[in-house]
């Protein structure tokens, strides 16, 4: 479902604020588990319950992961940053404030390069990246006339990544978010699962006439709770703003909530929106001071980033840019491809196999790459050496995926090894020609287009085992005589 085309004179300006849960075992300021799916209020303690007298202590592992994220985005990691309290009342916020960072964030001024569907490569600004804790979860639909609160998520470590107003369409926002997700998954700091709430996105959107330099009043779009809705929600809000301005109205700065069922947006009640968060430095936590050694250590923990890996695959394995992009989509697939490519000299064939059979099989089996890289390299070698036809190789692949085993033995037990013995192939050819005298006569009168027919018959007679090149050569010889 493509959104309706954008009227020519309008330009859309989008900036995303992304909240990402860090992959730590314990919470940001206490030792409670962050495991997803536990019974409500079982992963809590005095600290994350906000009991009187409890104090936060920052989780070093979370700080390390946040620094890795900042470095991967090319940010400047600040040697000193400050935790701050963001004050507001809500039942799932047990302390009455969230510990976050405000005017001195962990990192600033980075870049995310992504491929825009409209403009090619775009370098989007990352304004800042900061650490904070999550709130609990309010559950409004579990009990009649009551809201339940689960504080298992209270205190879970997050980073907020604030992107600049550099995106120009809903599709671009989606591409940005996909690239960001890929990067964060690559470096292993988050599993970026929107369904589990480990990646959440809010968007700032405004429209202006093309050519205008100043930004117009923006709205914030919230409640975009699935990847699929990013583009839809932003298109809806963009169209609303354009229609509003075209009919003589003006955009008010407010928060819009996206409703995915209705595919529309509605303003959040202004009371909920009129927060003065009264930020001030968190007196319970000293300034976060990071030594150059600590930052260097986090840098050394970073793997090769997706863009660098793609470029290297192009250079080292001679892949086209598009193929290299596909096989580097996730770190697991890239590592898989590279292991196959290192064992087999057939780099392009390896890419083809990974992009088709391997990824298709993985998609049906929980993203598991079920055929080992060594086995795939062997299959590719059997095709190259003429032992397996391409069709037979696919059968072998499927069998190895399902049941395991050594590809050659599997091929043998399936009886699909190609026969390259001239005597045996000559026997099949003789039988086929003997069975089709009419066609032989027509061929000899000049109807050479019948060759594929004969070849097909030979393959059939051999149950697919005849080496097709050899069979064709023998056929040509026999029919010429």
């Amino acid at each position: 479902m493509a959104p309706p085309p954008l009227p020519a004179p309008w330009e859309t300006i989008i900036g995303l604020e992304t909240h990402v849960q860090l992959r730590t075992r314990s919470k940001m300021f206490c030792g409670c588990s962050t495991a997803f799916g536990a019974p409500p209020n079982t992963q809590v303690c005095p600290v994350c319950l906000g009991l009187p007298g409890a104090l936060p202590v920052a989780n070093g592992a979370a700080i390390g992961l946040a620094v890795r994220g900042a470095l991967a985005l090319g940010c400047t990691v600040q040697p000193k940053s400050i935790f701050a309290r963001k004050n507001y009342f809500y039942p799932d916020l047990p302390k009455g404030y969230q510990i976050s960072q405000f005017d001195q964030p962990l990192a600033t001024n980075g870049t995310l390069s992504f491929v825009s569907p409209d403009r090619g490569i775009v370098n989007a600004t990352i304004v800042r990246l900061h650490l904070e804790e999550d709130a609990g979860k309010s559950i409004h639909d579990r009990f009649a006339k009551a809201t339940a609160v689960d504080l298992n998520r209270s205190g879970v470590p997050l980073i907020e990544i604030v992107g600049g107003p550099d995106l120009r369409s809903p599709a671009e926002a989606r591409a940005y978010l996909q690239t960001l997700k890929q990067l964060l998954e690559y470096i292993g700091i988050s599993d970026c699962d929107m369904e589990k709430g480990s990646l959440r996105v809010d968007a700032n959107l405004s429209v202006r006439r093309a050519g205008e330099a100043a930004l117009s009043t923006r709205t914030e779009v919230k409640n975009i709770n699935s990847f699929a809705f990013v583009e839809k929600a932003l298109a809806v809000e963009r169209d609303r703003q354009i229609a509003l301005v075209e009919s003589g109205g003006s955009v008010t700065q407010q928060t819009m909530l996206y409703d995915s069922r209705e595919n529309n947006v509605r303003p959040q009640r202004s009371k909920e929106d009129s927060h003065d968060y009264r930020y001030f430095p968190e007196p319970d936590l000293p300034p976060l001071v990071l030594t150059p050694e600590f930052v260097a250590e986090q840098q050394s923990e970073l793997p090769e980033l997706p863009s660098a890996k793609r470029d290297r695959f192009v250079a080292t394995y001679g892949l086209g840019r598009e193929h290299a992009t596909v096989v580097t989509a996730t770190r697991a697939v890239a590592d898989y491809y590279e292991t196959v490519a290192k064992t087999s000299a057939e780099h392009q064939a390896a890419a083809n196999w990974v992009m088709t059979e391997a990824l298709a099989d993985a998609k049906d089996h929980n993203d598991q790459l079920r055929v080992s890289p060594a086995a795939l390299a062997q299959i590719i070698g059997l095709v190259k050496g003429g032992t397996l036809s391409h069709q037979a190789a696919k059968r072998v692949f499927a069998e190895v995926a399902a049941k395991g085993g050594d590809p050659r033995s599997v091929a043998e037990s399936l009886g699909v090894i190609q026969v390259g013995d001239t005597n045996v192939v000559t026997g099949w050819v003789t039988d086929v020609l003997g069975a089709h005298p009419t066609e032989v006569a027509r061929y000899k009168r000049g109807e050479v287009k019948l060759m594929p027919f004969f070849l097909g018959q030979v393959m059939r007679a051999s149950k697919g085992k005849a080496d097709p090149k050899l069979a064709q050569r023998v056929l040509e010889e026999k029919l010429a005589s």
């Binding site: 005095p46 007298g53 104090l55 004050n87 009455g96 001030f280 000293p286």
Partner: protein, 455 residues
């Protein structure tokens, strides 16, 4: 066994002071249990220590002198309390205090005012007035209090006992219900410098649960010195204004003379930003309090009050009826000074002033002064009700104590004489983490000063 009973009896005898919030029956029962479990090898074995009601204990409720936490039982105990118990001390009940430690007279408790142990028409000081009164009445040898702006030293001075506020970061705040987090420290009361100091030594030291607690070994107790030879003691002129109560001045002069006789060098010094300390304090402490007290919303613990039909109504009913007037006043002030548009004018400027006040002290200490001596409070204990209608007059009671909290420095108040039977306190302010020097000087002064004589 008999020890625990005797401890309980002494506490129950002091009941008329309204200093203890723990019901006698609960207290007796718990003391017997604690006594049986206490480690005989601990350095405080068998010593009863009363604990201010804003410090979490497993044995007793922790209401912070507030209706909003009435009956609240903490599922964990403060690090300081755990350290006391590990040293063999007995937790001798919870003491009455100004609600959430906000006050200077212990008249702002939801559970009634505490009486001065020597004159029931007067206040014991505050906010740790219950702890001070119990030690002053001889019901316990020591007690824990808490300080944000003088809440241990001021009542210690009023009740004629010793009160120590340690360096910020010397004692873990884990389990101390927060008021002004950047100023709060647990402090101790004792009948003598030694009683207070040995309790402080036990509760001091690193705690992985408090990121603002310094990674240091517990305080080592100094020995009682023969003289004050080699000590340079500064007298900040801003702490001896012309309007100072003449009796307080006489008591101070006498103490200064005695320190000189012990061999101390005494020097006049200046802490020029002192006049701004109280206003600075009354921006920073309420700002932090407004945030620290946000959690009392009636959602998770504490009583719920009637009249709520929706979420906002629940907040309004709980906080409107659960908090007393002084707490509400400070939440309003704190919310105001942190609001967009006022932050720079108030909170940021107060932080800048706080830095200047701390710098004043460093300047003096850098010029060879070891300790400062001042009166603890400008007057002896005032009459109950006298300052209730005038919050500013009440706040001025903290004028000589708030500076040490703003600068994070250790300070001790000890009795240096009496006026018309009411105790007067003298204060020594030390350098950060040099409590041992400060206690050494206090030992020497305590030995010679006629603490119960008219000045």
């Amino acid at each position: 066994m008999s020890d625990a009973k005797a401890v309980a009896d002494r506490l129950v005898k002091a009941k008329r002071l309204n200093a203890l919030l723990t019901p006698p029956k609960d207290l007796r029962k718990s003391l017997v249990t604690q006594d049986a479990a206490a480690r005989p090898t601990g350095v405080l074995y068998g010593m009863p220590v009363a604990v201010k009601d804003n410090i979490c204990t497993l044995e007793f409720t922790t209401s912070c002198g507030s209706r909003i936490l009435e009956g609240y039982r903490s599922p964990y105990e403060a690090t300081a309390v755990a350290k006391l118990k590990a040293a063999g001390a007995l937790i001798a009940g919870k003491t009455n205090c100004d609600e959430f430690a906000m006050g200077s007279s212990t008249e702002h408790s939801a559970y009634g005012r505490v009486l001065h142990p020597l004159d029931k028409t007067r206040v014991p000081g505050g906010s740790s007035g219950g702890s001070a009164a119990l030690v002053g009445a001889g019901a316990v040898p020591a007690a824990l209090g808490s300080e944000t702006g003088g809440s241990v030293r001021q009542p210690a001075a009023f009740c004629g006992v010793v009160g120590i506020k340690p360096t910020y970061g010397r004692v873990s705040r884990y389990g101390l219900v927060a008021f002004g987090s950047s100023l709060d420290q647990i402090g101790v009361f004792g009948r003598s410098v030694h009683d207070a100091a040995r309790v402080l030594s036990v509760i001091s030291g690193r705690d992985p649960r408090d990121a603002t607690c310094e990674d240091r070994d517990p305080l080592r107790l100094p020995t009682v010195p023969e003289s004050l030879q080699g000590f340079v003691i500064g007298l900040p002129r801003e702490y001896f204004p012309p309007e100072l109560d003449p009796a307080v001045r006489r008591a101070c002069d006498r103490a200064i003379r005695m320190m000189k006789e012990l061999g101390a060098a005494v020097r006049d010094v200046s802490l020029p930003h002192t006049p701004y300390a109280v206003p600075t304090y009354y921006v920073i402490a309420p700002a932090e309090a407004s945030s620290n007290l946000a959690r009392y919303d009636g959602v998770r613990y504490g009583p719920r009050f009637n009249g709520a039909t929706d979420l906002r109504g629940l907040y309004r009913a709980t906080r409107g009826q659960g908090f007393g007037a002084e707490v509400r006043r400070r939440i309003l002030i704190g919310t105001y000074v942190l609001s967009a548009g006022y932050y720079d004018a108030y909170y940021r400027r107060a932080q800048q002033m706080r830095a200047l006040i701390a710098q004043d002290f460093r300047n003096v200490f850098d010029r060879g002064v070891d300790l400062l001596f001042t009166p603890t409070v400008p007057t002896p204990a005032f009459k109950a009700g006298e300052k209730l209608a005038d919050p500013i007059a009440m706040y001025m009671s903290d004028i000589f104590t708030v500076t040490a909290n703003l600068a994070g420095l250790p300070a001790i108040s000890l009795p240096i004489g009496r006026v018309k039977g009411l105790p007067i306190g003298g204060q020594l302010i030390g350098q950060a983490f040099l409590e041992d020097e400060m206690i050494e000087a206090a030992y020497a002064l305590e030995r010679v000063v006629p603490a119960t004589d008219e000045a």
